[in-house]
Symmetry: C2
Subunit: 259 residues, 2 copies
DNA sequence: AGCAGTAGCTTGTACCTACAAGTGGGCCGC
DNA sequence: GCGGCCCACTTGTAGGTACAAGCTACTGCT
């Protein structure tokens, strides 16, 4: 079912996690690993490449691979889904729907979702809670195809993305832009915090496997509740530093209705 | 000099950038590309895998690859180096050193850099400016090996990382943790902003190719000047959502001296 | 003892074959 | 006309060979 190289990668991950190859130590050579696992060197290399992408091992021509860090288990689903993430850290997620309506896309939404002006979107504002404490406001515009399925979802308790996947809507790629904003009076009310507190803002565009946009979201996290972590390296750097939020998106996102 | 697959990847990137294969369109098959470029299919696959890691193309068994987005040129160096990044967006970077001293590592610094308690670090506080406007405070602890070379660097004008690489100190991996904090009075004074303004905080641990820690830094960006962007996908997700800054690091980083 | 040169090991690159798994369009029958 | 089936095409997986490039440890010379 799963590919051989994925199985090998998983077993290597486990070997690193359980201390067989602690951070700072060197891995056996590709040749040795291939012999032990009974696979070709190319398969071992494929598996090790995955660990390299996750920043778990470093490699250099001529020298054996070095273990950089213990692998983190978080996957794409946990990143996109608040519910999945919450449960993975042992907290109880819940949600409170502030707004749910079908309406014409704003200019920003149309551009980000690849729609024409005034095409309809499903707009949802939810406050997300961890163990009953509000930690995030989620203002999401779904394309009609995905959004219409929301009527089948119990938004207060269920994970939207989990249910959508059951209906054949699969989130496969995402682009996240992260900056910091002060809480507006509206934000403060919804999150039960002081106005002006620093919030971590994540604007996210998620697409299906074909690259068709499915949602555009503006999430605001309470600063002392959540952080994002990225690993990168010379070989692989998915993180980009940008200049300034553009004025129109900054202005458009200061109210509930303008996202 | 450069590897074949890197050359192919570059040419494909350019073909996407210049509109030959616009976002949403489909790429030629691996077979066709291999023939056109005069290389093996495995080489084409290697190149396409790189584009996939950058979120530029999506691929699925059975169907041709889809172009997701125009590639961004930013590389690892531009992410680590404020100077390189600034010049790449056409702005003039500069810096103002507020503090530079050799002193014993704090508990946090020792843990992050893999040092023993009271091992010395070189601690630098710099305000970074874009076209003369302060946008970031950088509070960095260097391990002695790297930090001692700082005496050769003109900190007001030059890029630390560029000069260190000339001396054989190479930054190869980094782990970034991003959250939001309100500007302390100290931050506000250094950045010439109002206290309490939302700042984007990036804590960064960078290592050499072997995984040996070189620096631990806490950078604070003015929220409306800089944002970070990440692309990820089901296959590759270097981004991780974390719970809360730990109390000790949050407390330790509220003053100049405590980083 | 100390140093330089080298031989062997290790990873990187490039090529190849073969087959599996999944897509999509065209053809055929109804 | 329309729906279902099938086949050609496309990507994914797994294996292999050969050689290049770079590191390390050892040998042997001074």
């Amino acid at each position: 079912m799963t590919a051989l190289y994925q199985d090998v990668a998983l077993r290597l991950r486990r070997a690193i996690s359980d201390g067989t190859y602690p951070p700072g130590s060197q891995l056996p050579s590709e040749h040795e690993l291939a012999e032990w696992f009974g696979v070709a060197r190319s398969t071992i290399r494929h598996a090790l490449a995955m660990l390299g992408e996750d920043g778990v091992v470093a490699s250099h021509r001529g020298a054996r691979r070095t273990v950089l860090a213990v692998p983190r288990l978080q996957n794409f689903g946990e990143l996109r889904s608040f519910s999945l993430w919450a449960r993975s850290i042992g907290a109880e997620p819940s949600g409170r729907v502030e707004l749910l309506e079908r309406r014409a896309a704003t200019e920003v939404q149309a551009r980000e979702l690849g729609l024409s002006a005034d095409d309809p979107v499903i707009y949802v504002v939810r406050v997300r809670l961890l163990d009953g404490k509000p930690v995030m406001i989620e203002r999401t515009a779904y394309v009609e195809r995905a959004g219409l399925l929301l009527s089948f979802v119990d938004l207060e308790r269920e994970s939207i993305s989990e249910r959508l996947e059951e209906h054949g809507i699969v989130f496969a790629h995402a682009e996240h832009t992260i900056d910091a904003v002060n809480a507006t009076p509206d934000d403060a009310r919804l999150l039960a915090i002081e106005p002006g507190l620093a919030l971590l803002r994540e604007r996210r565009r998620a697409t299906d496997p074909r690259g068709q946009a499915l949602e555009w979201s503006e999430d605001r996290y309470v600063g002392d509740a959540v952080a994002f972590t990225i690993r990168n390296s010379i070989a692989l750097s998915p993180l980009v530093r940008d200049r300034a939020a553009t004025p129109e998106t900054a202005a458009a996102s200061t109210t509930n209705s303008g996202n």
